[in-house]
Subunit: 409 residues, 2 copies
């Protein structure tokens, strides 16, 4: 029989979100009348904004005419979108990024999953703990780790604990690594890495020849004076790649569009010690394995930056951030200890009464009919924590807070 990639078999069989679904479905079957409110998976709920809808309609009509039809587009995105992104998300905010440093994709999950391919097969990797599971799993699948131990940690990865004690801001790795994944605003903790911390990371990466993979998919949810991009830090162009997404920002989880930023200066080395352009490898990967994002979707993404689009999108973000504030206020009254929720659409809470994450999950499901995400699903240091998402309809969020309060009261 054909030999398969058995690194896949190292992956924990019970993936987080399927396990949540399993328990939720089991509860529903046993309690057919229960109205479950889901604040688990971070998926948006508000309808597509009118300006974005209009842009998609126009693009489709264009494709349906002989003169407007377009087939294959550039694999890394149309210039109209790359230019719009570079100008609005960077240049107008005082950050130098050029359009050809923007690589458009169909999602940040895909980008943050695929980026490891351009690193050496034995490249060393550091991740935070808790962590967005995709960073870890894709390196496991690529064979950069050994087996997982009983806490779910894979041999060969460097884990950087994010704890209450360090304000959920990880210490620098103890040894140099080829790549390190950082996520700010953080999923799941909701904490943003402040400027002085980012400065430390950039200095460390440059001194150690590491590349920072900076996931800023939630940057639009920042409300305080905190960095939106790692490229706000001098020297980051020599040591960082940034991931951005339209998914949560503009309600694109079902539409699919994102981008990654790779500065021209960014280099790594080949096995003989020669310098290699990171952007060049990524372009080669993209051109060989991808055929670009659907044209109407790229027009939709462009519309996010129009005057009307910007307002509509901001209104939705404000709506979700009001949810976050309501959750924080409501939980504070119950005596729960919370983190995040101010610059991110996630609230990270300490489980009460010494319950572990899954025990609290079960209690919330059974007593309040509310579903969240057990912190332990994000890593060993997530044990004893729980994530609530602010992506929900207002009345559901309010109802959920009430039910949680009574269930704990």
């Amino acid at each position: 029989m054909a030999r398969l990639n058995d690194h896949y078999l190292k992956l924990a069989a019970g993936y987080l979100f399927p396990e949540i679904s399993r328990r939720m479905n089991a509860f529903s079957e046993a309690n057919p009348g229960a109205d479950i409110i889901k604040l688990g998976i971070g998926d948006v709920v508000l309808p597509l904004a009118p300006t974005i809808r209009q842009a998609m309609h126009e693009a489709i009509d264009e494709l349906a005419t002989p003169e407007g039809f377009r087939g294959y587009g550039p694999s890394e995105g149309y210039d109209f979108l790359r230019e719009t992104i570079a100008r609005n998300d960077y240049v107008d905010r005082g950050v130098r990024i050029e359009p050809d440093e923007i690589h458009v994709s169909d999602g940040s999950k895909c980008d943050s999953a695929n980026i490891q391919e351009i690193f050496a097969s034995d490249a060393t990797v550091a991740v935070t703990d808790p962590v967005y599971p995709v960073y870890v799993d894709t390196n496991v699948m690529a064979g950069r780790t050994g087996e997982a131990d009983e806490t779910g940690r894979y041999a060969g990865l460097e884990y950087l604990p994010c704890t209450r004690e360090n304000g959920f801001l990880p210490a620098l790795p103890e040894r140099p690594v080829d790549m390190v994944y950082l996520c700010s605003p953080n999923n799941p903790t909701g904490v943003v890495t402040p400027r002085d911390e980012l400065r430390k990371w950039v200095d460390w990466a440059r001194a150690n020849g590491s590349i920072i993979l900076f996931d800023a998919a939630y940057e639009r949810f920042i409300t305080e004076d905190l960095p939106h991009s790692i490229f706000e830090i001098d020297g980051a162009r020599e040591c960082a790649i940034e991931f951005r997404s339209f998914s949560k920002t503009a309600g694109f989880t079902g539409i699919r569009c994102a981008y990654i930023v790779i500065p021209k200066e960014l280099e790594g080395r080949d096995s003989r010690g020669g310098s290699v352009s990171v952007a060049q490898l990524w372009s080669r990967r993209t051109n060989t394995k991808f055929n670009g994002v659907s044209y109407p979707v790229q027009r939709a993404a462009e519309a996010v930056y129009s005057e009307a689009g910007r307002k509509e999108v901001q209104a939705n973000i404000d709506y979700y951030m009001t949810n976050a504030r309501l959750i924080l206020d409501g939980l504070a009254k119950t005596g729960l200890t919370t983190f995040g929720g101010v610059n991110a659409p996630y609230v990270w809470l300490k489980t009460p009464n010494g319950l572990d994450s899954w025990q609290f999950f079960d209690q919330l499901l059974e007593k309040a009919h509310v579903v969240g995400t057990p912190g332990s699903g994000f890593g060993a240091h997530g044990e004893g924590y729980f994530r609530l998402s602010a992506f929900g309809l207002r009345e559901k969020v309010e109802e959920a807070i009430e039910r949680i309060s009574s269930s704990l009261g």
Copy 2:
């Protein structure tokens, strides 16, 4: 500096299509008045069919309402599409395929590029020569080959020559391999593998524990009684994966939708010799690295199977296949020897007067202002051949044939 994947550096620097563009642009600059007709890259030109346009409009309007909004969809495609595909493309044609064996994606290039990831890192690979370059390049990038020799062949890959002598139907590999890529109707030769040949392949694969990666992206262009799917052959469910695409069939090169079929019976083995389900690994890959195809695009693909959609799409296919017939007839009159073009939108021709592929490319560009694809770009056995695509507007195709005839006359 961070260590990168230097297998990428083995890839030939001058990729085929960029080199074509380079020569075309140089010619345009030197001859500003020249009206170049492109029959090179196989990209569709007819506008999006009305029924497909309508389905996309409706899906977008649905997303713009509170009750119709959908966020993340299932990574492997919505049931409505998987069921429609299984029924129309397989069950109604007498082939047993179930909806959950259909995995929806954003393109066959992506699928045929990504599939190698679920094989062992040292899995052995056979490809035809000439070949669609993605099959080769992605295995080079994954480190399954050595360096390329002067003809562009990579050490460690088994190449199966497709020549005029064997009717462009490759012999079976001389040694067992873990995976073999077959493409039928073939890009670039336009030849379809007949039933008895496919039968040989299936028997061989089962006897040798190989998996056939069967690219049927052009099956809708078959006009004669030839197999559209490898699953028409008994036993293929135990040894094959099939790739299908909406790109050429329904004008989706810019819209992006395709699918792959993995039968439940298909198994490979892990390094300890245990059986592993191929579909299970692919699902794990998809769920970890992909977030599904844009919802309006999936509704567009569904519309391809409606009564009206089917007629519109067939009319476009007929249009392109009439182009192919015109090219075949026109070239025959010039005395050129041609292949393909009857069951595929590609005509494969022998270059005249002992010209090599690039010499003929230059001659055609200079004398006829027509661009095609040099056969040598598809592999060493493509040398001395040339590909013309039938994807063009009728008047352009007719003009191109006339110009080619006069330039050779």
